[in-house]
Symmetry: C2
Subunit: 107 residues, 2 copies
């Protein structure tokens, strides 16, 4: 089972270099495409569109409902946490299967 | 306020064509890079790595705890839902700000 607390972090830079090597495309060209891709995803989500990539997954903006919170030091004063938009990611079939196969949870 | 129930769906194909036009790069080259990017993200996540893209956000595999479910027709028989891995996405600062600005929730 994967140790969830001891994760490697993969960055954009490392992914760009790896794609550049694999495909024989100059890292600057790879970077341009990847950055445009991420920027356009951000634009679409902030305009309220869903993003759907087959096998990979779906991104969408959902509304987190209003909640009542409490300050533990002033438990009698409720704090209203207003409704707010949040981004939800749902993995696609292929991603889900791979993650479940490789991260077998020991019961 | 955005109508959350009436969303446009942006697909990989549409994004690829849009990047190709903006950057003057052949759609096949854009497709190769984007597909490699998504495939490598899937590989990293299934190997238990975090993915961190500045401004955009962080992907990581987290463990959903074991839950006890009930079949409403057989309420006396608990159903154990085993622990399982799930992908969590947390938007980065820039994405979060844009989404909150453009999806103002009316209280």
């Amino acid at each position: 089972m994967t140790d969830y607390n001891n994760k490697n972090t993969m960055t954009k830079k490392k992914l760009i270099n790896s794609i550049s090597q694999d495909k024989g495309i100059h890292p600057n060209d790879v970077r341009q495409v990847i950055q445009a891709f991420l920027d356009k995803m951000t634009d679409c989500l902030s305009d309220g569109s869903r993003l759907e990539f087959r096998d990979f997954g779906v991104f969408e903006v959902v509304e987190r409902k209003q909640k009542i919170g409490r300050n533990p030091k002033k438990a009698d004063v409720p704090i209203v946490i207003p409704p707010r938009p949040a981004v939800k990611f749902t993995p696609g079939k292929k991603m889900k299967r791979l993650i479940e196969d490789k991260n077998k949870v020991t019961v």
